[in-house]
């Protein structure tokens, strides 16, 4: 009797001890693998882009200084200056921001400060629809609507069929919902008490919005704008369709010029042989693009983390 009792006790003690569960460990291992897979992706991007870009820069006919300062990109003639591509990217981004920042902020302020909840429930999904349309559709829109519009306003002699302004403006429409929804989140996060305090000293609705709420949400708004810029720089299909094929170093937004992304798409869309200088050169451009957008995204995250006003 006594002995069987003690056996029971040891069995219970063993059961209570933490058992090594192999199946649980396997599952946890698999889940950890899933988690690290994204790191593998990043390593893959940096390694592959870096490797091919290295091959490109190792070519005796390519000069690192010329790459960053040259104003001609003619692979047939071994002129590899990336500035024309970067310049076109900057022009389209500038035009995109010209539309997206003022409109996006206005929409955000309107939705967060002015709109009734009924209007907001109607407008927000509509803007989300705008954000969900594939970029190639915007490319079609730029080519068949915006370009003819610009040509009819400024004249057919001034505006070429393919031009950076049209691509940039349509890109602005694409990025508008991104900036407006991120900024609206930031504006809505500003506590009510701040607004009420301002009203109590006699501020108008505009003054509350512009002088109290917007400054309080500035970090979020800045982050939204930077993410928008990063998105504009990486945007591909609109510029591939509407901005023109062929690098050109021009500051005239009504002329055709190829952006970094547009160039990558055009070159890789043709029949490309691995290891050729063309093949390697697009990886060099891709690496540059990756680092530009990555640093912009990191800056945006830092701004939110560093300058966020935490209330209560």
């Amino acid at each position: 009797m006594n002995s069987s009792n003690s056996i029971d006790k040891t069995i219970y003690a063993q059961r209570l001890k933490r058992k090594p569960r192999i199946d649980e460990a396997i599952i946890q291992g698999f889940l950890f693998f899933c988690g690290t897979f994204s790191i593998l992706t990043t390593i893959g991007i940096v390694y592959e882009l870096g490797k091919e870009a290295m091959l490109f820069f190792a070519d005796p006919q390519v000069d690192l200084v010329e790459f960053f300062t040259g104003t001609q990109w003619q692979p047939q003639l071994y002129n590899f200056g990336v500035l024309p591509l970067v310049n076109a990217t900057l022009i389209t981004t500038f035009f995109a921001m010209l539309i997206a920042i003022p409109l996006g902020l206005s929409v955000a302020i309107y939705l967060s400060e002015y709109a009734t909840s009924r209007a907001r429930n109607l407008l927000k999904p509509t803007l989300e629809v705008l954000a969900g349309i594939p970029t190639v559709v915007y490319g079609y829109f730029a080519l068949t609507f915006m370009t003819p519009l610009l040509r009819s306003i400024f004249g057919r002699d001034i505006v070429q069929i393919y031009n950076t302004a049209s691509a940039g403006l349509v890109m602005g429409i694409l990025i508008l919902p991104l900036i407006s929804s991120m900024s609206e989140d930031a504006l809505s996060a500003v506590p009510r008490s701040l607004r009420e305090a301002a009203y109590s000293v006699g501020a108008t609705k505009l003054e509350v919005a512009v002088r109290i709420v917007v400054p309080a949400a500035l970090s979020g708004i800045a982050a939204a704008i930077i993410v928008g810029i990063s998105r504009a720089i990486g945007e591909t299909m609109i510029v591939a369709l509407a901005a023109g094929a062929g690098p050109a170093f021009t500051f005239n937004p009504f002329k055709a010029a190829e952006t970094m992304t547009g160039h990558i798409v055009r070159i890789s869309g043709g029949d490309l042989s691995y290891g050729s200088i063309d093949y390697n050169s697009i990886f060099a451009i891709g690496l540059l693009l990756f680092f530009i957008t990555l640093s912009l995204n990191i800056i945006s995250q830092q701004i939110v983390r560093r300058f966020r006003e935490v209330y209560e």
């Binding site: 649980e24 899933c34 969900g132 068949t144 591909t236 890789s268 957008t293 995204n297």
Partner: protein, 416 residues
């Protein structure tokens, strides 16, 4: 009193001016919002405007000269049509058609289309937008009479059931999106198969298992950064890894599916699907994390209290509760993948595919790529089929998004 109040100079005295400013800016904010809506309308208007409209078509051969008696071409029997076809195209071309599909098995409409395509060879001279077709009928007829005396005026609806079931062709009048839609579906299927388990697994790991150490923080930051990487970069990654380095796998030659290994080509549906999977992975993870985080802690504690292991808790309690949220996020990620063009162009979509893709190792084209290639052509009639294809794509996306919203609504009702 302070002359410079916080609301500007002499803030008490200039009250009317301040109210005027408030009104003006209120209008500006409202107008900006309306501009956004107007753009959306303009976009849809522009697409619909190109999907319907009059065409001026000139045929190489006058239909009346086809020696079919007095019967118009449309009313001829199948046999008569086959005879016309036999008389007017070369023997070789006729035999090729016979070899593709014997004439006995072809339908009358199919043969009729062949006669139109091979014998009449219609050529689109001018296309008119829907608005012009409706309101400027007279001008269109004048153009027809003055510039194209041999032409016929046809009202064409570009988006038809036929457009959906015919494969791609080099002539817009006979082209369809069948191959592109099937290619899109194959690609998306592979994307889901790869990205869903990996993404949900990562989300579970980060929310349920990960402790706050440096590795896990790096993983989290990394995922947030990956979500902001331009899609074209993923295309280049796919080109370097899936198409080139893993060519034996992605071309299917490793599995003996390619007869001659030297012709193996990694530019397949499989590569495209994997590339898109990498692209949407961060989105699925981030959305999945949010869904899992929203599951109340009491659920987990109740499971632990009954002696469940960690995995039992996650599998039987957390995941079912988070599933609608996870699925919503996944559907949104899928609709992103469905509309993605740039990475697939880089990975190497084929330009002209007339045969249905037969499996993951076929060459591919997808709907957005088709739209891109058609839009890039300078001819007007390619723009028309691009517009029709855009409508097909938008309807697909709308269906996906609507199902996501339905899921979300069901989920939020259950929480209450």
């Amino acid at each position: 009193m302070n002359e410079r109040g916080i609301f500007g100079k002499q803030s008490v005295n200039n009250l009317p001016q301040r109210h005027r400013m408030a009104l003006i800016w209120r209008l500006i904010f409202q107008v900006s919002t309306i501009v956004g809506i107007i753009t959306l309308t303009a976009l849809l208007y522009n697409i619909l405007n190109s999907t319907f409209g009059y065409l001026i078509i000139e045929t190489k051969i006058n239909p009346a000269s086809l020696n079919a008696g007095d019967v118009p071409l449309e009313d001829l029997t199948k046999d008569a049509l086959i005879r016309i076809l036999e008389e007017n195209i070369t023997l070789g071309a006729f035999r090729t058609l016979q070899r593709d599909l014997p004439f006995e098995q072809r339908s009358r409409d199919d043969v009729f289309d062949l006669v139109v395509e091979r014998v009449l060879k219609p050529d689109v001279k001018v296309t008119f937008s829907l608005v012009d077709s409706l309101f400027k009928r007279n001008e269109i007829e004048e153009t027809l009479a003055s510039s194209y005396p041999n032409g016929t005026l046809v009202f064409r609806t570009w988006l038809t059931p036929r457009f959906l079931i015919t494969p791609q062709a080099s002539v817009p009048l006979f082209a369809g999106v069948r191959t592109a839609v099937i290619g899109s579906l194959w690609t998306i299927a592979i994307t889901i198969l790869v990205a869903f388990p990996l993404g949900v697994g990562a989300a579970i790991y980060l929310e349920e298992y990960a402790t706050d150490n440096s590795i896990n923080r790096i993983i989290q930051t990394n995922i947030n950064n990956l979500a902001g990487v331009p899609s074209i970069i993923y295309g280049m990654l796919g080109l370097a890894i899936f198409v080139r380095a893993l060519e034996p796998i992605t071309s299917g030659s490793l599995f003996g599916l390619v007869a001659d290994p030297s012709t193996a080509n990694g530019r397949t549906i499989f590569s495209a699907g994997l590339t898109l999977a990498l692209l949407v992975l961060p989105l699925i993870i981030i959305n999945g994390q949010e869904a899992i985080r929203a599951v109340p802690n009491s659920l987990r504690q109740a499971a632990y209290g009954l002696g469940a292991t960690k995995w039992q808790t996650v599998w039987h309690h957390v995941l079912p509760a988070a599933l609608p949220g996870i699925l919503t996020g996944t559907i949104l990620a899928i609709s992103r993948a469905l509309g993605e063009t740039a990475p697939l162009v880089v990975v190497g979509a084929s330009t002209l595919i007339t045969l249905d893709p037969s499996g993951p190792f076929s060459k591919f084209t997808t709907l957005p790529i088709q739209i891109y290639q058609w839009t890039a052509r300078p001819q007007d009639d390619f723009r028309n089929i691009a517009a029709a294809a855009i409508i097909v794509l938008l309807i697909l996306l709308l269906t996906l998004n609507a199902s996501a919203i339905l899921l979300r609504n069901r989920f939020s009702r259950r929480l209450v």
